[in-house]
Symmetry: C2
Subunit: 222 residues, 2 copies
Amino acid sequence: MRDALVTAAFQLFLERGYEQTTVDDIVALAGVGRRSFFRYFPSKEDVVFPDHERCLADMTAFLAASGEDDEPVQRVCDAARLVLRMYAENPAFSVQRYRLTKRVPGLRAYELSVVWRYERALAEYLRERFAGRRDGILRADVIAAAVVAAHNNALRSWLRSDGRDDAEAAVDHALGCVRSAFGTAAPQRIAGAAEDVVVVVARRDAPLWRVVKEIESQLGRN
Amino acid sequence: MRDALVTAAFQLFLERGYEQTTVDDIVALAGVGRRSFFRYFPSKEDVVFPDHERCLADMTAFLAASGEDDEPVQRVCDAARLVLRMYAENPAFSVQRYRLTKRVPGLRAYELSVVWRYERALAEYLRERFAGRRDGILRADVIAAAVVAAHNNALRSWLRSDGRDDAEAAVDHALGCVRSAFGTAAPQRIAGAAEDVVVVVARRDAPLWRVVKEIESQLGRN
DNA sequence: CGCCAGGTGTGCACTGAGTGCCACGAGCGC
DNA sequence: GCGCTCGTGGCACTCAGTGCACACCTGGCG
């Protein structure tokens, strides 16, 4: 029944547009009563995102199952990958939906509220893990937002490629950028840093003299 | 007329709730015709955010007026401060609205779409400034998201304090955290960095020997 | 003065989403 | 058979939002 409604809805959305399709049209095509539609989907928008509720529950469970020794930023990155995997399960459907949400402002707004719930789940997890740290709550919110933005950036470029690109690789790369900015290497130092600072990132196996020379030049002491 | 509608609307929203107030109630209290309400506000939600459209235009203009030599991250942080200033212009109103949006899911969703437009404005500006850089688009989106998250974090804690805290200081601090993670000092280095790295943040006026010693210990070479 | 043009406010009827309520029918235990 | 529940459908209702037409007012022009 749910599936029948989703199928009928997308068929109509694609052939005549979202706003030009009424709920009556959908239930007529699916051959069910109008009242049943709202039994399965609390609103017309929900039929466009039929699996996000489940995915959100999966993510919450995944984060709740974390151990104390997990690296938090790594963990939220893995959690974000769950969403990507849901999209990748059904590339054709995801691409269609992407084109739909891009065109219809109402659906964009609805998608934002869905994404916001993912972001809050990540942020809540990080807030607990960062409890007691200086600026723990702030860092949790910022990292959650950055992870979501990076994930969405990679996801959308994959969707624009009609599902041809390698989604996993793109997300790995995007999340790698975030992790290198917020990873465990330097959180205590970065928090609250003054403006007049120099940031140096060095490989642990780099020659020491090379690192020192780089720092000298960055500090303007040469 | 606009002001009369906003005043009447908030009076009713506060005394009986947003969803329990119909547009007919508002126009009856304001003493105007129902049709006029929708002339000034395209939807019922818009009356809750009467000044965001103007603020968004201000931000866009501010970013468009940037020079080539402005530091982009600094610039978007300053742009975000425009929003804070709008809230701070009317602390009592902002606090009331905050309590309203926190309770009503529909208003939260609407606020998200407003925030999203700010974020897109920042991201578009950064995309242009980062054009050609490696991962320029990705970095633009992530930084915009981080700036917005930091700003909102500070803004909300100010709103929760009923406007008593120092909003400017809180936002400065929050944005400082973001800038120290994404500032100009190390973007090329951080992008795509491997996991096995050490990040050192040093004040430009710190003694050189002190910095080198810190790095030695971080690299595990002592 | 008469007339006209444009903007602003209003009334009315209509569409369509979403809800509450009740009725019907199919399964199932007693 | 009789309850019973549960999934479903139908009906009427509220309310947001829109299109249309009309009234009013204001200012310019002959």
